[in-house]
Symmetry: C2
Subunit: 432 residues, 2 copies
Amino acid sequence: MEAPTHLSQGARRSADQAIGFLMQQAVENPGCISLAAGLVDERSLPARLVRDAVDTLLADGESGRRLLQYGTTQGPEPLRRVYRNYLAELEGRSDGLADLPLSRMMLTTGSQQLLSLIVQAMFDPGDICLVAAPTYFVFLGVLQAAGAEIIPVEADANGMRPQALRGALERLHAAGQLGRVRLIYVVSDFENPSGVSISADRRHELLELAQSWSRESRIYLLEDAAYRELRYEGTAPPSIWSLDRNRETVILAQTFSKSFSPGIRVGLGVLPEKLLKPVSDLKGNEDFGSAHLNQHIVAHALKNGSYRQHVESVVASYRSKRNAMLQAIDKEFAGLHGVTWVRPEGGMYVWMRLPPIVQTGFDSLLFQQATRVNRVMYVPGELCYPTSWNDRPRCEMRLSFGVQSEAGIEEGIRRLATAVRTVFGRISGGNE
Amino acid sequence: MEAPTHLSQGARRSADQAIGFLMQQAVENPGCISLAAGLVDERSLPARLVRDAVDTLLADGESGRRLLQYGTTQGPEPLRRVYRNYLAELEGRSDGLADLPLSRMMLTTGSQQLLSLIVQAMFDPGDICLVAAPTYFVFLGVLQAAGAEIIPVEADANGMRPQALRGALERLHAAGQLGRVRLIYVVSDFENPSGVSISADRRHELLELAQSWSRESRIYLLEDAAYRELRYEGTAPPSIWSLDRNRETVILAQTFSKSFSPGIRVGLGVLPEKLLKPVSDLKGNEDFGSAHLNQHIVAHALKNGSYRQHVESVVASYRSKRNAMLQAIDKEFAGLHGVTWVRPEGGMYVWMRLPPIVQTGFDSLLFQQATRVNRVMYVPGELCYPTSWNDRPRCEMRLSFGVQSEAGIEEGIRRLATAVRTVFGRISGGNE
């Protein structure tokens, strides 16, 4: 008789995450055009640039070898200085953000590691996180693994609604739960999955709410700015982080995975003072610091201007792909009553809503029809809401224009419209 | 009035770890010769080799760009095949370990990430880990952060004593605690800090104990083989992992940080079947997989033979440094009564024991004398025992020959002997 394996509470809560199902579906449906994968376009990746960077960085043996040594848990200070200059440029700060102590910055393994560390540092089971509805489903998985209670807050075309956030906080206060609220999580620009950005006014309001409701314990605001550089039209509002004058409320999470390369795994975080040591201690336990060489590769590209050039070309390419997807949707979905979608100004996603009668989940008629018959895959929208929310919408889809070529996007949308029409016909007309 | 920041239990337990104190001491005593840092010799790092590898890997745009895309959480399967061939060679398995499913292998951010993931996957507060005494102090910190109960098991010149392990298990059984034992942790070769290797006989016995005491729940054995390739004399015993026929008890943790480059951050784990999914789920939450490009860099060096050549040169260099340290100790400590030390066959550490009356901790007379007056730093041995063990030895030191040149090692040992002699004089002779 074999003795059973004991797993920790955290490991048990980590099982059966949406991302796992999704990847399994991708494997099981290899012939599909994927509008599901949230990956960047492989053709955009800077192979030549990285090769040249490494060639230069390792040309001199002595200085080169230093990059192959450990860095530090947060990333070496001279490197953080380079990343601070980059952040200053993004923020339009001509003073180079000289007043931001380098100790507040941390280089991570993509921004995902920072999201995970923040949750590890702040959440015990039952602690509360408020999230936009819908939101980034992988982060929901991280929260779920920590045993967090996740409370969805209504969002619209301008992002999370401050009034809805206030209402949620008031209800928690009335229920004696305010002291368990740790975090408000938002993807500020071209949200994954909804494609919407938080308007400038709301950025101020959301921050102010986090601050004014920090009564029993500090409520932090985690600004996931993963997509901020992928803007195809319009003007960027200031980051929420930049509005936080004393820098004690907002955690800023950025990554070079979307704008540069996910295989390099470099993320950049800026933390309130009180979270620095706990997050750094946890990171030290996890890895002693992320890959040092890779931090130098990105810094090299930042310093010599090749990063900015690269982002420009990436933005131009994704702009065309977004346009291709929106044009295809305009054309293919025009006659379909009750279907609406968001026109994102950036990012990688179009969020589509079908009439509530048409469900989109893994076990829905539409998902089966789309993947098995019409050979196209999307991310079911319901994954982007907390599973604890029974009334979550089940008729939405996240469509990514990241991976496919323009031709692939057009064909994918054509197939998807066919699948939707077929299911519409079955539902409204009974058996065909 | 500012609202307090709430930290998770895990974050609170992560604070004030030994490694933090140690690094602070290094910063505060910049003029010291460090025999404390457990880093590899920077001069050994393969700058040329990595540069050539990247040059080749990224030469072709299309295949090159693939390496800058995400890999997978465990690392792509074709890559794991390359690492399996490498492991087969280490294990002397001419069949290429073809019977080891690739799904059992995982590429991590150094081996540290695997150690951390294993603890996260298995430990709830109060769960028990048995460790050799002394043991790798960073791992003690990881266990402490998880709220684990750490039980030290006596070790001698042949590693952890099976009889002591049996005794500990019997006591836990008698106390009704056997069901809370999750893990036995050993560094099998040239242990950090003690320098000893577990003898072949004991490898069998320790494995057999883990298996036969897996009654209420499975007791895993984590074999940390970080140093196995750094052997300077003698013959390698089989890994404990290789003795585990059904591969359901031993977790093997290896790294390329010591043999190749810590700044690349590539580790290799082999896991029992029952731990695969939990550990992979947790890793997915943490980072979606470690840096893909870096996994290819190491694989490239493994495939073209340059890795093996590099290890040979590294081993030759560390052998000379070990010899330099042992010769210097023989000379400088010859007249010091009651001082003993281990002659390691590999690795990076010499473990020294002083008479019990001479304490070595951060606040000891010796540490002050060594760092402030004689300008040499070591790792106090007491850090390598669980802090919960009140009777832990306090008169030991870990001396590393990793970082310093041979001349630096000789001078460092000379200074250390001077400091020890001074403290001996004060203790035995009262005030000077």
